[in-house]
Symmetry: C2
Subunit: 364 residues, 2 copies
């Protein structure tokens, strides 16, 4: 039987505690005969403290060898003033870039049982199910020049550069259209073509791919600022939203916050399929961050992290039955009222991080 190599990178803040719960789930599947091999390494502030870098070369090698990386979260005030090149986030950005994880899939789902946790009115978010497809290895995150220079008069100038190439926009557009076909068949492409040349270009390429390969899918173009507004006004108008790295960062966070289920939302970052083996590199992480304020207190909701492992079962290993089984166990535990503080129903007792993990294992 095939053995799936998992690299666990818990990172900082609540990363380690939510990752421990995933290990329980992995353990359960392993006992039932699914071949998982796990290794664990450091990333982010934890890696900086140990090695002076946000991820070590050894950890990068392991990530390259792994069939999937499970990533917790990185960052925290403790490392706010470390040099830019070794800040915690650099570890995550290097993983994305070096593994070629260009497609970031961020579902924003509002669980009916949790709709009241949203700051939006129930009718606006109940049943919401949208997918943000964010380009993850290009744009302003990686373009050069990216620098702060001191000028002759002593003042300074800072520069970032947003660059997109044809193939980068083509491939992310294809991911979005492919996903839409399995969903409600609509893609909204967000950019600022009225002020950015990369926006003009984005719109052109997406339009061409649509016309040539996916003319049966509905496509609309929306300005990124208007998209943010529309997400707040009536998010159910969207199915799949495809957008660049920076707009995707913001729009996916808005979408996640709408649902009231931030501690519930997983994400997948996928590379290109190898034309020979059909394999693709992949990293799975919760949408939430490292939440330093509640770290170490057993308060964190592990479901986003566990759901991220569920996405790995589905997208990396083709273990669809196992993925369904896990999703169902999560849903049952939620329904039973075993919930952490962030999603506890009014008048019920919140349980700890470990209790939720244990309950899901039991339910499995």
């Amino acid at each position: 039987m095939a053995t799936h190599k998992l690299l666990l990178l818990p990172g900082d803040g609540i990363g380690p505690e939510v990752m421990r719960e995933v290990e329980k789930i992995v353990g359960w599947f392993r006992k039932r005969g699914v071949g998982f091999e796990t290794e664990t390494d450091l990333v982010g502030g934890a890696a900086y403290d140990a090695h002076g870098a946000a991820i070590s070369e050894a950890a990068m090698d392991r990530a390259q060898q792994a069939d999937a990386v499970l990533f917790g979260a990185v960052g925290g005030a403790k490392w706010d003033s470390v040099p830019y090149a070794v800040r915690p986030e650099a570890g995550l950005l290097r993983l994305r870039k070096d593994l070629g994880l260009f497609a970031n899939l961020r579902p924003a789902i509002c669980y009916p049982a949790l709709a009241d946790a949203s700051s939006l009115k129930r009718e606006v978010v109940e049943g919401l199910d949208i997918m943000i497809v964010r380009e993850l290895t290009g744009g302003v995150y990686f373009g050069e020049p990216k620098e702060i220079v001191t000028l002759e008069d002593g003042s300074q100038r800072a520069v970032d550069t947003q660059i997109y190439h044809t193939h980068e926009v083509e491939r992310i557009a294809r991911v979005a259209f492919d996903l839409a076909k399995k969903r409600r068949n609509k893609v909204s492409s967000a950019e600022k073509f009225n002020v950015m040349k990369t926006g003009v270009f984005w719109r052109q390429v997406v339009t061409r791919i649509h016309k040539g390969e996916f003319s049966d899918v509905e496509l609309e173009h929306v300005l990124a600022d208007n998209c943010a507004m529309q997400l707040v006004r009536w998010p159910k108008q969207f199915d799949v939203i495809v957008t660049d790295n920076l707009f995707g960062d913001i729009l996916s966070d808005i979408a996640a916050m709408l649902t009231g289920s931030l501690g519930m939302l997983p994400s997948a970052s996928l590379g290109a399929e190898d034309p020979v083996t059909g394999q693709r590199k992949a990293l799975y992480e919760p949408v939430h961050g490292s939440a330093p304020d509640i770290a170490g207190k057993g308060l964190a909701n592990p479901i986003a992290m566990i759901g991220s492992f569920g996405m790995a079962l589905r997208y990396s290993f083709g273990l669809l039955d196992e993925a369904d089984r896990l999703d169902k166990a999560i849903a049952n535990v939620l329904a039973s009222g075993t919930r952490t503080k962030d999603i506890a129903a009014p008048g019920t007792n919140a349980v700890g991080t470990q209790d939720v993990g244990d309950a899901i294992v039991k339910e499995l």
Copy 2:
């Protein structure tokens, strides 16, 4: 008595109809002896149709001569495929740049009477009063290179460049801190210092200005993506938010949409004070766009445009009593239930654009 020169640029879509209502208000003040001189010119798609440019040189000259510009809105599907350099938005961008309007003030206020129009829960937005201070003449909107180039293999590369200089960040930070002192004394500075060098730089300069000149004002730094989330989660945590041109575009739109009062929100774009005359160039415009879908139907809410004229009374002409009087007239008309469709209370009849303008004049 001093005569104030106003240039009216109605623009496209609902721009002309909401501007007509402002003219009534200006007329009322003129009859009561306040010296206003108005000129009107074209901008946006309307200017393109007439002159092949998004604003003519003659209109730019008039804008330079005016004490304040009142701007309606620009754009619409009709001009989606005109050449990039003459697209409707280019007129607005040139006005901002050539008049040096670096400080964009966008209040987001939730009128209690309208709180139910928000998609957010009443308790989340009722009484909301935040001010977004957006840098308006720098960043990715204007940096070069900004181009699409065709490479040797026939594929293309698109580039935009975000640039900030020391003095640009210093002056917008001062505007934000000054405003905060007259409000609830708190500034939240939003950037992405974890991925952008302009973010690192922004944070450094804001911190320095704070330390040197405004240490009595509370300052917090917040990541732009988290700021978007927090605006959705609990917007009342903010007082003044200061941010760059692109983040400001998105964050101010989110803030506006939260209030449920999009058709109500004015904005001011201000230049630097002339050290000799104390005068500053200024442009006032509603936060909403050209809304082509309802243009020409008499449905548009003119209050954002009229309120923008109120900001001109206050910020450009120091006519504080007149500004208060206008604000009060608007509030009374709202309270009386004379409202356009976007803000009509359930079960009441909506009135037209002109009715609201007439009612405000009557109330004055």
